[in-house]
């Protein structure tokens, strides 16, 4: 017992919640990736010391409440319009860091035009794209990213390509746009991946600092509640089904892929 107690001292601290997160329990379901991504994003903000220089935009989706957790200036956005809202901010505050945090329904369905044009204009913005293959907030409807055969409340017999089309690979769709400087796809289903995600976010903000343009950090995430799985099953599904279709890694870098 003794030595256990006395190692809990500041000099031995190796991991703690970043100070850039507000003290409030999240509303997210147990095991939901949103919480992990929030934490990693705020770790980077803390380490870069840019808490006062960054402005975030969260559209409606489960993460619409991000402003309750991320301790930085935040703007909620209408469904799909995050990148228009962020463009408005970016254009009037060229010297700040600006990011959006969007779900797949938001970024890839209703927000398609805003996404593509912000990227094509090379808006100097970082977009964190939470791909959980579902509309979480509204109770599990099909998203553009829902896998073929995957069940959702609006594809109860599995996504049927004949009538519902193919799962959209946004990263791939955007990669040839010249305004885009960085596209990477990461995940949070294993510690190693979480650490890689952190590096990716840091890189994206670094590129933004250099004014290189639009960057997309896609996170292949989960939705235990609407996938009707336990968090562990959900992360297994990420590993077995999502990642094979949405392979991880850098898709475009300023250095050239």
């Amino acid at each position: 017992m003794e030595d256990k107690l006395n190692i809990c001292t500041p000099e031995n601290l190796v991991y703690k919640k970043p100070g850039t997160l507000k003290i409030k329990q999240s509303h997210y379901c147990p095991g939901c990736g949103h919480g992990t991504v929030h934490k990693i994003l705020m770790e980077v903000v803390e380490e870069m010391g840019i808490q006062g220089d960054i402005i975030g935009v969260c559209p409606v989706g489960c993460s619409v409440f991000a402003y309750d957790y991320l301790d930085v200036d935040m703007n909620e956005a209408a469904h799909g319009r995050a990148l228009a809202v962020a463009t408005g901010i970016r254009r009037v505050f060229p010297e700040k860091y600006v990011f959006t945090y969007q779900g797949d329904g938001d970024l890839a369905a209703i927000g398609t035009a805003e996404t593509i044009h912000a990227a094509n204009r090379g808006e100097n913005i970082m977009t964190i794209f939470i791909n959980n293959g579902i509309y979480g907030m509204t109770g599990g409807q099909m998203a553009p990213t829902t896998l073929l055969g995957m069940e959702s409340t609006t594809s109860p017999y599995g996504r049927d390509v004949k009538t519902m089309g193919y799962p959209m690979e946004m990263a791939n769709l955007l990669k040839d746009l010249k305004g885009v400087c960085y596209i990477t796809r990461q995940s949070v289903h294993k510690p190693g991946n979480v650490r890689k995600l952190k590096k990716a976010i840091a890189k994206a903000l670094e590129y933004q600092k250099q004014g290189l343009g639009f960057s997309l950090v896609e996170v292949v995430s989960n939705c235990p509640s609407n996938w009707k799985m336990t968090p562990l099953q959900a992360n297994q599904f990420v590993e077995d089904k999502m990642i094979p279709y949405y392979p991880l890694g850098d898709i475009k870098t300023p250095e050239g892929k």
């Binding site: 489960c62 907030m137 509204t138 599990g140 509640s225 609407n226």
Partner: protein, 177 residues
Amino acid sequence: MTQESIFAGFGGQGVLTAALIVAYAGMEEGKEVCWMPSYGPEMRGGTANAVCIVSDKKISSPIIASYDSVIALNQPSIDKFESKVKPGGHLFYDVANCISKPTRTDISIHAIPASEEVIKLNFIKGLNILMLGAFIKATNTVAIESIEKALKKVLPERYHDKIPLNMEAFYAGMKHV
């Protein structure tokens, strides 16, 4: 006769289902019924409730400010709804889920050892049905047979083998009124 009741508890405790069973049972008896759930965005661990009205005549307003019966499965629900029981009405609560007891004297308060009983029955999920049993015993809102019929409608096919178990819980609830 009109019975305006509300079932309240944590999401997952099956309060919406319990209220729905009463509504179906009422319909079985040719009564007018209305079931109104609380609804919210996809969030776990919140509180949920459902109003159930059963009446012999056309139901005008499904929105009511006070209830004939309140069935509360957790403390927040007791706190929120005790004051909303009509004078002479009923308040049912689960002893195990109650920290501070209701105090009103102008209503009949039923402390049901529901959690205890369902553990005995080794049927944790039956908490809602057990409370339902107590409610029906005290108010005779609908007949027992109607409840049994309603269960068939409300429970998915694959759970129909569980109906006897549910009825057991139901009877156990009745015992305590």
